[in-house]
């Protein structure tokens, strides 16, 4: 009988360890296109296993189980519905929200453990049956509180900016740097106090509040377009918050997973910055200094306007066409109109391909998702290296809501803020037609000489509307 109990306990411990290995496997598989979906499924299974084993291990009373099941069921419903319903283009803000919730959960867990310490020693303090809370434990609760709190408020700001609830412009907080330093100092002080009085709920609450403020201070000055990077960073933080909670509730699985996600999240953030040719420091602290944007020398040239009919006629006579989709296409949701045009052109024997820049749009892989939604065959999507030599032999390049990714200044002008970013050489094609609403700039806020070039014409207006007009003209011609 004793052996049975022991065996069962071992099985549960083993199950938790297996779940940890599952998370490692999940990340590993997620990092390769062929296996990514499998990896995600393995991660979900591992999570289920971890929850089941934890429940079995703790053997809670029926009341507790019922309450938790209700909470979990409600959470699952909300999760599934939002996860299913949300628009593909709203993905970054969704991840931001989820992230924030995770951070908040960490705060709750650390706080709840603190409440228990205040009551009497149990559960997590098995190892320390005297009930005295050592500095390591106190500091873990502190870290869980502030990292989790910062993740929560930071994620909500990020969500607000991406969703358009807040201005997506970088907000320059007066004396922002000083305020950040001050809150950091306060946090450190509160940490010291928590070591001395680890059971004080008041202290804990103060830490959480300061952390929320810090999250806002840090995120508000960052422009909406940089948000994917910020979200990735906050994602790493939410891992670190879970890690801290792992020490608080004494769970090696939490430590494992939190550390895993924290480390890989930081690397991923770096990779994302590299893909956008920015440094992380620049993203996070860029707006603190001067939020003014460069208004580089306009060379006095004006954009030449084109009507949808002009465009349709030009396309009728083209043999090779390349479509360059960008952020504006996502905004206007015009991907189906694009495909319609491509279909008509293909029927008349024109070759049509899409040039997909890795950081076109506002999240990595944005254009791939968008075009996949409109059933564009994947054979037609060419990446940077494949498509760049093609522009030379191309009659018409359609630039649909893209800007920075086709800015020749990135290639030709070493003083441009974009300098060094690989671009699509759309300017090399015989004719360029740009779909945009007005004289708006791209994410980098830089003038684009391509739009005023001799071979370029602009169709003003919302991309979806202009494209639909072009398509109907094409069909009538």
């Amino acid at each position: 009988m004793l052996i049975n109990v022991n065996t069962w306990a071992s099985v549960l411990h083993g199950a938790l360890l297996v779940a940890g290995v599952g998370f490692v496997l999940c990340l590993k598989l997620l990092a390769s296109p062929r296996t990514a979906r499998q990896g995600n499924a393995i991660g979900a299974l591992a999570m289920l296993l971890a929850c089941g084993a934890t429940l079995a291990q703790a053997q809670p009373d029926v009341g507790a189980i019922r309450a938790m099941l209700v909470a979990a069921a409600a959470g699952a419903v909300v999760g599934v519905i939002t996860g299913r319903r949300v628009h593909m283009t709203a993905m970054p803000q969704l991840v931001a929200v989820f992230n924030g919730l995770g951070g908040a959960a960490s705060v709750f867990v650390a706080g709840g453990e603190l409440v228990r310490w205040g009551g009497h020693a149990g559960g997590a303090l098995q190892l320390n049956p005297i009930g005295e809370i050592g500095p390591a434990l106190a500091l873990s609760a502190w870290a869980g509180a502030w990292v989790g709190g910062l993740t929560f408020s930071g994620s909500l700001i990020a969500f607000g900016k991406l969703q358009g609830l807040l201005s997506s412009q970088p907000v320059c907080i007066p004396k922002g740097r000083i305020a950040v330093c001050l809150t950091l100092l306060l946090l450190l002080g509160a940490g010291g106090a928590m070591v001395i009085a680890p059971k004080s709920l008041l202290l804990f609450g103060i830490v959480v509040v300061i952390a929320e403020i810090l999250g806002i201070l840090l995120t508000l000055p960052i422009g909406g377009a940089d948000m994917p990077v910020v979200i990735s960073l906050l994602n790493a933080y939410s891992g670190l918050a879970a890690l801290a909670c792992g020490f608080v509730v004494n769970s090696p699985l939490l430590i494992l997973s939190g550390s895993l996600v924290g480390a890989s999240g930081i690397i991923l953030t770096r990779l994302m910055c590299q893909a956008m040719n920015r440094s992380l420091a620049n993203v996070v602290f860029g707006a603190f200094g001067a939020a003014t944007q460069q208004t580089s020398g306009q060379d006095g040239k004006e954009m030449k306007e084109f009507s949808p009919l002009d465009t349709a006629m030009l396309l009728r006579n083209a043999e090779r066409v390349i479509v360059v989709p960008g952020y504006g296409l996502a905004v206007s949701q015009g991907q189906r109109a694009v495909r319609e045009i491509a279909d008509v052109l293909k029927q008349q024997g024109t070759q049509v391909v899409y040039a997909v820049h890795p950081v076109a749009g506002r999240m990595p892989g944005h254009m791939n998702v968008l075009l996949a939604e409109a059933d564009v065959p994947y054979d037609d999507l060419l990446d940077l290296e494949a498509v760049n030599p093609e522009f030379l032999h191309t009659d018409v390049t359609l630039i649909v809501g893209a800007n920075d990714v086709v800015n020749p200044a990135a290639r030709d002008d070493p003083s441009s803020p974009l300098a060094g970013m690989p671009i699509l050489h759309a300017d090399k094609s015989r004719a360029v037609i740009v779909f945009k609403r007005g004289k708006g700039r791209g994410f980098a806020g830089v003038e684009n000489p391509l739009f005023t070039a001799d071979n370029a014409h602009v169709v003003f207006g919302d991309a979806k509307q202009s494209l639909t007009a072009v398509a109907s003209h094409l069909k009538q011609l």
């Binding site: 296109p33 703790a58 599934v80 996860g83 593909m88 509730v249 997973s257 892989g365």
Partner: protein, 112 residues
């Protein structure tokens, strides 16, 4: 700290450091295409704090602690379930594209 707790803490640090090393190693080279799903997938994993919430909920006796635990269970479950669902949805769209890189290049070679 008494020696038992200290020893335990050391072991926890080993787990921390080793997991971090694995995290660094595994994400060495990811194609840009997968950055967003990887982000949302690992975001789902960081909802592992759900396990902490369950532990808390099972051991808590005061109603405040229980409240916090149930709140944490709710929030973390949204994070976990939503995260995995949304990642899967994203990846199911990429799936069509998966052979893209290869075929895309083939296509362009053919054209050149």
């Amino acid at each position: 700290m008494d020696p038992v707790a200290a020893t335990h803490f050391v072991m926890q640090l080993y787990v921390l450091v080793l997991s971090a090393l694995i995290g660094l190693e595994v994400i060495a080279k990811v194609p840009v295409l997968l950055h967003t799903p990887l982000m949302s997938g690992s975001n789902a994993i960081s909802g592992i704090v759900l396990v902490g919430a369950i532990t808390l909920g099972c051991g808590a006796e005061s109603s405040l602690a229980r409240l916090l635990a149930n709140g944490a269970v709710f929030l973390a479950t949204v994070n976990v379930v939503g995260g995995f669902v949304v990642t899967d949805r994203m990846l199911s769209m990429f799936r069509k594209q998966t052979p893209k890189a290869r075929d895309g290049q083939k296509g362009s070679e053919g054209k050149t």
